[in-house]
C-alpha cells in the first residue's frame, strides 16, 4: 500500500513537473533567444513576464474575453493578445534604448559592450517593476477561472487507487507553451527570417556584408523574446497569484534554466526550463514546499560543476 502511494506521489510530481516545466521552458526560450541572437544579458526579462501577466489579466477581465470565450480559450487568447502588445513594447524599447548599446558598433569593444547593457537592462527592470507598483498596485492578483481548482483524472492506472491528476489551468498552460515553443523552433530553423536572425547572431559583420540589417534583426529577436516570455507569463497567471515584483522570482528561474541548457542554445533553454520545473516539483516529495527553490539551485550547482557548458551547450554553437 505504501509503495502504491509513493508511486502515485512520484507520478503526480512528475506530471506536475512536466506541466510547470514546459511553461518555464517557454520563458527561458524568450530569454535564450535574446541572448543567443544579441548577446545581451537581459535583467528586465522577469518584468516583461510580469507585464505579460497584467496584460493578459486586463484583456481577460477588462475586454471581457473571459466572458466571451470561456475559461479554456479566454485566458489563452488574452495571453496571446497581451504578448502582441509586449512585442510592440519590445520594438520600441530596442529602437529607443537597446540599439544604442548593441549591434556592430559594440562588437569588438571592451567586454563587447556588456557593462552598458547590464546597467541599461537592470534600469529598465527597476523602472518597470516600480511603475507596475504605481499602476497596478501591490495586491496579488490572478486570472481567475474555475480551471485552476479543477483537474483531469488520468486513471485509475493500476487497480483502483492509482490515478494522476492534471490541474486544468496548468495543462492548458502546458499545451500553449509547447505549441508556441515548437512554432518558434520551426520559425528559427526553416524560415528565411529565422535564418537571417541566426546569421546576424553568428557573425554580425559578415551579415552586414550580405545586406542584412543587423539592428533590424536584433530588434525582431528582442521583441520576439519579450513576447515569448510574456506568453509564458500570461499562462502562469492562470494558476499563480502575482504582483508587480513577481519578475524577480521568475528571472532567477529563467537564468537557471538558460544556463542549465547552455547559454546561447535556444533548444537547450527549453530543456533547461523543463528540468527546473521537474526538479522543483520532484523536490516536494522529500523537502518542504518552501525549499523548492533551494532544491533548484542545488541541482543547478551540481550540473554546472559537472557540465559547465550546460546540459545542451556546445562551445561552437551560438544558437
Amino acid at each position: 500500500m505504501d509503495a502504491l502511494i509513493l508511486t502515485e506521489n512520484v507520478l503526480q510530481a512528475l506530471a506536475a513537473g512536466i506541466l510547470v516545466g514546459s511553461v518555464y521552458g517557454l520563458m527561458c526560450v524568450g530569454l535564450g533567444l535574446i541572448y543567443g541572437v544579441m548577446r545581451v544579458i537581459n535583467f528586465a526579462q522577469g518584468d516583461f513576464l510580469m507585464l505579460g501577466m497584467y496584460a493578459a489579466l486586463y484583456l481577460f477581465t477588462g475586454l471581457g474575453l473571459g466572458a466571451a470565450l470561456g475559461p479554456y480559450l479566454g485566458p489563452a487568447v488574452a495571453t496571446v493578445l497581451g504578448a502582441a502588445i509586449l512585442y510592440v513594447l519590445g520594438v520600441v524599447l530596442h529602437q529607443t534604448l537597446l540599439r544604442r548599446v548593441t549591434g556592430i558598433r559594440v562588437a569588438g569593444t571592451e567586454s563587447e559592450g556588456h557593462y552598458p547593457q547590464l546597467i541599461l537592462t537592470l534600469g529598465i527592470s527597476l523602472i518597470l517593476a516600480n511603475a507596475g507598483l504605481i499602476v497596478f498596485g501591490s495586491m496579488p492578483q490572478s486570472i481567475r477561472t474555475p480551471l485552476s481548482a479543477s483537474a483531469w483524472e488520468i486513471g485509475p492506472l493500476v487497480g483502483q487507487n492509482l490515478s494522476v491528476f492534471l490541474n486544468k489551468a496548468r495543462s492548458i498552460a502546458f499545451l500553449v507553451s509547447v505549441v508556441v515553443a515548437l512554432a518558434l523552433f520551426l520559425f528559427i530553423a526553416r524560415t528565411r527570417l529565422g535564418k537571417t536572425l541566426r546569421a546576424a547572431a553568428d557573425n554580425p559583420e559578415a551579415a552586414t556584408y550580405m545586406g542584412i540589417d543587423v539592428d533590424a534583426a536584433y530588434r525582431v529577436a528582442f521583441a520576439i523574446g519579450v513576447a515569448l516570455t510574456a506568453i509564458a507569463g500570461g499562462m502562469v497567471a492562470t494558476y499563480y497569484p502575482f504582483q508587480p515584483y513577481v519578475g524577480l522570482e521568475f528571472v532567477i528561474i529563467m537564468y537557471a534554466g538558460v544556463v542549465l541548457g547552455g547559454f546561447g542554445s535556444i533548444g537547450g533553454a527549453f530543456w533547461g526550463g523543463l528540468t527546473i520545473g521537474l526538479v522543483q516539483q520532484l523536490s516536494t516529495l522529500v523537502l518542504p514546499v518552501q525549499l523548492q527553490n533551494a532544491a533548484i539551485f542545488v541541482v543547478f550547482l551540481v550540473i554546472v560543476l559537472v557540465r559547465p557548458e550546460g546540459l545542451f551547450g556546445r562551445s561552437a554553437e551560438r544558437i
Binding site: D202, T208, G211, R318
Partner: protein, 235 residues
C-alpha cells in the same frame, strides 16, 4: 564603376588610410597588393560601411556610397568576401549561400546562381547540409566566395582569399576567381599579400604601403617596375 577618391581613415589618432584613390571600371580586374598592416582591409571595410572614413568619397555607379546605409550597399551589387572567410559557422553550407542571396535582386536569380556556384565549387554541393564551421579552411574560402556570388554581384571584393591555405588550394582558388571574372563578366577587386599571383591576373594594380598608394598602373607597368620586382616578386 567603383571609385574611391582621396579616402582618409583613422582609428583613434592612428591614420590607417591617407588620400587613397582607387578606380575599378565595369568588368575590370583590379588588385591591391602590399604588406600586412598597409590598410587593405580598412579600405574594404570603408567600402562596405563597417568603418567610417574621416574624409574623401566613395562612389559606386556615380552614387555616393557614404550616404547609403552599410546593409543597403549589398543591394547595389557589391559583394564583400571578407578576410578570414567569416562564414556563418552555425549555419549549413546551403543556408550560408541563401544568406548571400539576401538582396532582392539575387533572390530572383537564386536557382540559376546556386547551380553556377555548385558547378564552380562541386565540394559545396556535396557538403550542402553540413555546418559551415565543420568545413576545412579551403572549403570555407570556397563557401565565402560562393556566398558572395549568390548575391548576383556586379563587383566582387575579395580580401586575401589565400590566407592560411595550402599552395595547391590557393592556385585552385585563384583559377576560379579568374574564371568568374572572365566568364561572368563580374568586376573584381582583389586584395592580396601574394603579389605575384594577384598582379598576374589584374588589369590594373595598386601598391599600398602604410596607408598610402605608393604605386599604381596597368598590369604591364607594374610587373616591369623595378621596385615591385625587388620588393615583392623577389627578382
Amino acid at each position: 564603376m567603383l571609385s574611391v577618391e582621396r579616402l582618409c581613415v583613422a582609428y583613434g589618432g592612428l591614420r590607417a588610410l591617407i588620400d587613397v584613390s582607387v578606380e575599378v571600371g565595369a568588368g575590370q580586374f583590379a588588385a591591391i597588393v602590399g604588406p600586412n598592416g598597409a590598410g587593405k582591409t580598412t579600405l574594404f571595410k570603408s567600402i562596405s560601411g563597417i568603418v567610417a572614413p574621416v574624409s574623401g568619397a566613395i562612389r559606386f555607379d556615380g552614387q555616393d556610397l557614404l550616404a547609403i546605409a552599410p546593409a543597403a550597399r549589398a543591394q547595389l551589387g557589391i559583394a564583400h568576401v571578407p578576410e578570414g572567410r567569416q562564414v556563418f559557422k552555425a549555419l549549413s553550407v546551403l543556408e550560408n549561400l541563401e544568406m548571400g542571396a539576401h538582396p532582392l535582386r539575387a533572390r530572383a536569380l537564386w536557382a540559376r546562381n546556386l547551380e553556377q556556384i555548385f558547378a564552380l565549387f562541386p565540394v559545396l554541393a556535396q557538403r550542402r547540409s553540413q555546418l559551415a564551421g565543420t568545413l576545412s579552411g579551403g572549403e570555407q574560402q570556397m563557401l565565402a566566395i560562393g556566398r558572395g556570388l549568390a548575391s548576383a554581384p556586379r563587383l566582387l571584393m575579395l580580401d586575401e582569399p589565400s590566407m592560411g591555405l595550402a599552395p595547391t588550394i590557393v592556385d585552385q582558388i585563384f583559377e576560379r576567381i579568374r574564371g568568374i571574372h572572365r566568364e561572368a563578366g563580374i568586376a573584381v577587386l582583389l586584395v592580396e599579400q601574394r603579389v605575384a599571383e594577384a598582379l598576374e591576373s589584374c588589369d590594373r594594380g595598386y601598391v599600398l604601403e602604410s596607408g598610402r598608394v605608393v604605386l599604381e598602373g596597368t598590369h604591364d607597368t607594374l610587373i616591369r617596375d623595378e621596385r615591385v620586382k625587388r620588393a615583392y616578386l623577389g627578382m
